[in-house]
Structure formats: structure tokens, C-alpha cells
């Protein structure tokens, strides 16, 4: 319910942004072309006047800059942590250097240029070369931090179970135990069925990975990791692979030869079923990405209002509203982690189910 309301709200704000700021829309058209075929001269021209007229505030650019990935971690204006850049090119092999090397007028280093469009991309100056960017970006760094946090948290919890076996849970252990038990008993067990234990480690990792990154993303200056399509794509593809490795013959039979369907309808039903197979992970990917990104856009739009109106009186009102939105975002962090895990379990459950006839036409 709330997700729906928030989604409409997001659409409304996005529409308002696009309408109220035609300049931003223009930029976007240029940017989309620039992202595919980078136009350096134009970029340079755009950049230099931007510095001269500091007064102009482009909220669209600000928001895109904050929700996109970056090669350095900007905690606040001027407080920037450089991150390692790792590049692989077929001719030069692996190159590693810090992103602070790009801090010069041309944003160039060692034959590479860092473009500052809507999305930061490292491109070779020599256009004939190809380069693959495996840099530890802000998102990767944030992901590594979250991984370390997860290891520390659940290492400690596991240790508590080992050192005090058969005792009542205590402190942090009991806090985590509630969530673990909830995932096991309410999400994994009822949806997957008797063989649930095989999938439990993946589902728990999935839930806590999404949850911790959703929550970390709400911190000021943090990365928007779960609102990045690459992350949600990887998670959705992993679920897809697990579903299709473990699916039984009923599942595949149902896909290519649905029972109870007239032969005349098969040319329609089989493509629909096959599209349905890919729609499931696609919806997983888009749901998480869109929800988290939308939340960030709402918050950034609210803060942007202060700079658009340049009014101090507006700040408390906006802050109150942003506080309210932050509470909703904390809830969304839990809900989205839960939904991703729940749907993954349901997809696995429906693929390993013994009898498919019973729910024909319902689960699709």
C-alpha cells in the first residue's frame, strides 16, 4: 500500500522536475548521446562556463550526481576520499592508480580521461583503444564495507551460539535471532517447502545484504548501492540461476507443454510462459532498483528545494518532511529486502514443487 503511494509520489516529483526544469531535460538529451559517443569538446565547453556562473543550481544534475556511482567518495563538498582505479585494456594489461590522479584541468592521466557527465566514465584519450573499468568505485567500496560489517555482525552472532550452546540468546544475538527466525520460519520454510535448508544460507545472505546496504545508503554521504541496476541485476540473475538449476521436470514441462491448455492455444501460451520466466527476475531487479533510487530522489529533491528557493525559512519545513521521508525509507529498506527474499523463495518454491497442475494459471 505504502509502496504504491510512494511510487506515485515519486512519479509526481519526477514529472514536476522534468516540467519545471527544461534546462535539465536538454542536458539529459545531450548526456545520453554523450554517454555512448563521448564528445570531449562539448564536455569541456559545458564544464568551463559551469564554473563561472556558480549561482546556477541544477537540481537534476545534483540528484543524478548523488545517486550515480563515482570514482571518488565525496562525503561533503570538498571532503573527498580518492579511491583506487583499476583498468584493464587488452594492449596495456592491468593498470592501478588512485582516482586523485585525475585532479587536473583536463581530468586526464596516463592516457585516460574521467568524464563528468551524468555518469562518471573513464575513457581512453586514444579513441581506438578499448578499456574495461574494474575500479573500486564508491559503490564497490560501500559494498566491501557492508560485506565486512556483515561478516563482523554474523561472525559475532555465530560465536555467541558456539560459546554458549543451549543458553537463552542475549543482547545483539537475540536481536538478530528474531530476524533470522522470521526469514526462516515465515519466508523460506513456507514458500520453498521441506527442502528449504539447502537454500537458507543464500536467502539469509540475500536478505541481510540488501537490508544492510539499503540502510547504509540512507546515511548522509553514503553510496546508493541497492539503487544501482548492476547490483539488483546480479542478485536477480543469481536467483534466476538458482531457480533454473533446481527446477524439476514439472517446471520445464509446464513451460513448454502446459497441461490442460488446448493445442490451438499453445503457440500463444508457450511464448507467454517463456516471457514470464524472464519477467520474474526482471521484476525483482527493477523493483529494488526503482524503490531505492526513488527514495533517494525524493530525499534529494526535498533538500534541493532549499537551494532552489534560497530561503532559510523553508529549511525547517523541508527538514521535517525529509525526516518523515527518512523514516519511511527505513521502513522501505526492510520491506524491499523482505520482498526480494520472499519473491526469490516463491520462485524457487514454484519451480521445485512436485505437482504443478494444482496451481495452474495462478502463479503466473
Amino acid at each position: 500500500m505504502l509502496i504504491h503511494i510512494r511510487r506515485y509520489f515519486t512519479i509526481a516529483i519526477a514529472a514536476a522536475l522534468l516540467i519545471s526544469n527544461p534546462l535539465r531535460a536538454q542536458h539529459e538529451i545531450i548526456d545520453t548521446t554523450a554517454a555512448e559517443v563521448p564528445n570531449y569538446e562539448e564536455h569541456a565547453e559545458q564544464h568551463s562556463p559551469g564554473h563561472d556562473e556558480e549561482e546556477e543550481f541544477n537540481i537534476g544534475e545534483m540528484i543524478m550526481h548523488h545517486i550515480a556511482d563515482s570514482h571518488e567518495w565525496e562525503f561533503a563538498h570538498g571532503l573527498v576520499a580518492p579511491l583506487p582505479v583499476i583498468l584493464y585494456s587488452p594492449d596495456r594489461g592491468v593498470e592501478v592508480f588512485m582516482s586523485s590522479k585525475f585532479h587536473n584541468d583536463q581530468h586526464e592521466y596516463n592516457g585516460y580521461r574521467l568524464t563528468h557527465d551524468e555518469k562518471e566514465v573513464i575513457v581512453p584519450v586514444d579513441e581506438s583503444r578499448t578499456v574495461y573499468d574494474f575500479s573500486i568505485t564508491k559503490n564497490v567500496a560501500s559494498m566491501l564495507i557492508s560485506a565486512v560489517l556483515l561478516l563482523l555482525i554474523f561472525g559475532a552472532v555465530a560465536k555467541a551460539y558456539k560459546t554458549r550452546p543451549g543458553k537463552a540468546p542475549r543482547g545483539f544475538q537475540s536481536a538478530m535471532e528474531i530476524i533470522i527466525l522470521f526469514i526462516r520460519d515465515e519466508v523460506v520454510k513456507p514458500n520453498i517447502g521441506p527442502t528449504y535448508e539447502k537454500y537458507l544460507p543464500y536467502m539469509l545472505t540475500l536478505f541481510f545484504f540488501i537490508l544492510i546496504n539499503n540502510l547504509l545508503g540512507l546515511l548522509p554521504g553514503a553510496a546508493n548501492l541497492t539503487g544501482n541496476i548492476a547490483i539488483t541485476l546480479t542478485l536477480a540473475v543469481l536467483t534466476f540461476i538458482i531457480v533454473h538449476i533446481n527446477a524439476n521436470k514439472h517446471y520445464y514441462m509446464h513451460l513448454f507443454k502446459p497441461t490442460g491448455v488446448p493445442v490451438a492455444l499453445l503457440p500463444v501460451m508457450v511464448p507467454v510462459e517463456i516471457v514470464g520466466v524472464f519477467m520474474k527476475p526482471f521484476s525483482l531487479m527493477v523493483r529494488l532498483f526503482a524503490n531505492i533510487t526513488a527514495g533517494h530522489i525524493i530525499l534529494l529533491s526535498l533538500f534541493g528545494l532549499i537551494f532552489i528557493f534560497k530561503s532559510l525559512a523553508l529549511a525547517p519545513v523541508v527538514s521535517l518532511f525529509a525526516l518523515f521521508m527518512n523514516f519511511i525509507e527505513i521502513m522501505v529498506a526492510f520491506i524491499q529486502a523482505f520482498i526480494f527474499t520472499l519473491l526469490s523463495c516463491m520462485y524457487i518454491g514454484s519451480a521445485i514443487e512436485d505437482n504443478h497442475e494444482a496451481d495452474h494459471g495462478i502463479g503466473h
Binding site: 555518469k119 574494474f134 551460539y161 548492476a230
Partner: protein
């Protein structure tokens, strides 16, 4: 939109980090945690089972106690009843016996009385006979002396003899 195009570097790192995370957490976190939870659940279940069993045993014990109490009560009642019956019977017997004895005593008394009566009658008859003899002797003697007095005497004797 650049937002919708996944970056290859991020895809790569995500895959590596996430898979490592799944493997490491599975080995070092989820397995001990799940095992611990399961152990605790088993312990709680067995404790509950034990409590249930103890409760059943207690109920059984209580039922046994009640049964024994009922039995004891029943046997007490029976013993009392039997004792009462025995006493009643003994009293009745004693009464019967006493009655019989009394009857016997009465019988023998009556016998004695009858015997003594008989003896007395016999004695009286003897004495009457002796008296008659004496009278007769005296009459015989007087007859010899005076005839009128003899008759007077006989009449007198005869009137006296009517008394017996």
C-alpha cells in the same frame, strides 16, 4: 538513461563479493547459527515433552491415590459392617441361649414343684391314712364304751374328713 546501464566493473565486483559473502557466511555464520537454533528448539521440545510426561504421570499417580483411598474407605466400611453384624448375631445368640436356659430352669423348677407336690400328696395320704387308722382305732375303742358317743364321733370325723 545512464542509470539503467549497468557498469561492468560494478557487476564484476558485486558477483565476486556477493558469492564470497554467501560462501563465507554460510560456513562461518549460518551453519552454526542454524544448528544452534535447532539444538535449542530440540531442547525446548524435549523439555516440553518431559513436562507433559511428568504431568501425565502425576495425573496417573493421583488417580491411583484416589483409587486406593476409595478402596480403603470401602474396606473400612465393610469391616465395620461385618463387625456390627457379628455383634448383632452374638447378641441374638446369647438372647436365644438365655431364653432356652430360662425355659430349662423353669421346666426343672416346675418338675421339682410337681415332684414335691406329689411327695406332699403322698405324705398327706399316708398321714391321712394313719389319721384314719387312729380315728378308726379311737372309734373302735369308743364303740366299745358308748354307742351314742360313737356315732357322734363318727359324724364328727366324717365332717372333718370332707376338708381333704
Amino acid at each position: 538513461m545512464s542509470l539503467l546501464t549497468p557498469a561492468i566493473g560494478l557487476l564484476f565486483w558485486m558477483l565476486v563479493v556477493f558469492l564470497l559473502l554467501v560462501v563465507v557466511l554460510r560456513t562461518y555464520a549460518w551453519k552454526p547459527i542454524i544448528a544452534g537454533l535447532k539444538d535449542r528448539e530440540h531442547e525446548i521440545q524435549s523439555a516440553l515433552d518431559l513436562a507433559q510426561q511428568t504431568k501425565a504421570e502425576m495425573a496417573k499417580l493421583q488417580a491411583d491415590n484416589a483409587k486406593q483411598l476409595a478402596e480403603a474407605n470401602a474396606s473400612r466400611d465393610r469391616i465395620i459392617r461385618e463387625a456390627k453384624e457379628a455383634a448383632d448375631r452374638m447378641i441374638a445368640e446369647a438372647r436365644d441361649k438365655a431364653a432356652v436356659e430360662g425355659q430349662k430352669v423353669l421346666e426343672s423348677a416346675r418338675e421339682t414343684i410337681r415332684n414335691e407336690q406329689q411327695a406332699a400328696i403322698t405324705t398327706m395320704k399316708k398321714e391321712i391314712a394313719a389319721l384314719s387308722l387312729q380315728i378308726a382305732e379311737q372309734v373302735l375303742r369308743r364303740e366299745l364304751s358308748d354307742k351314742t358317743s360313737q356315732e357322734k364321733l363318727v359324724a364328727e370325723l366324717a365332717s372333718n374328713a370332707h376338708l381333704n
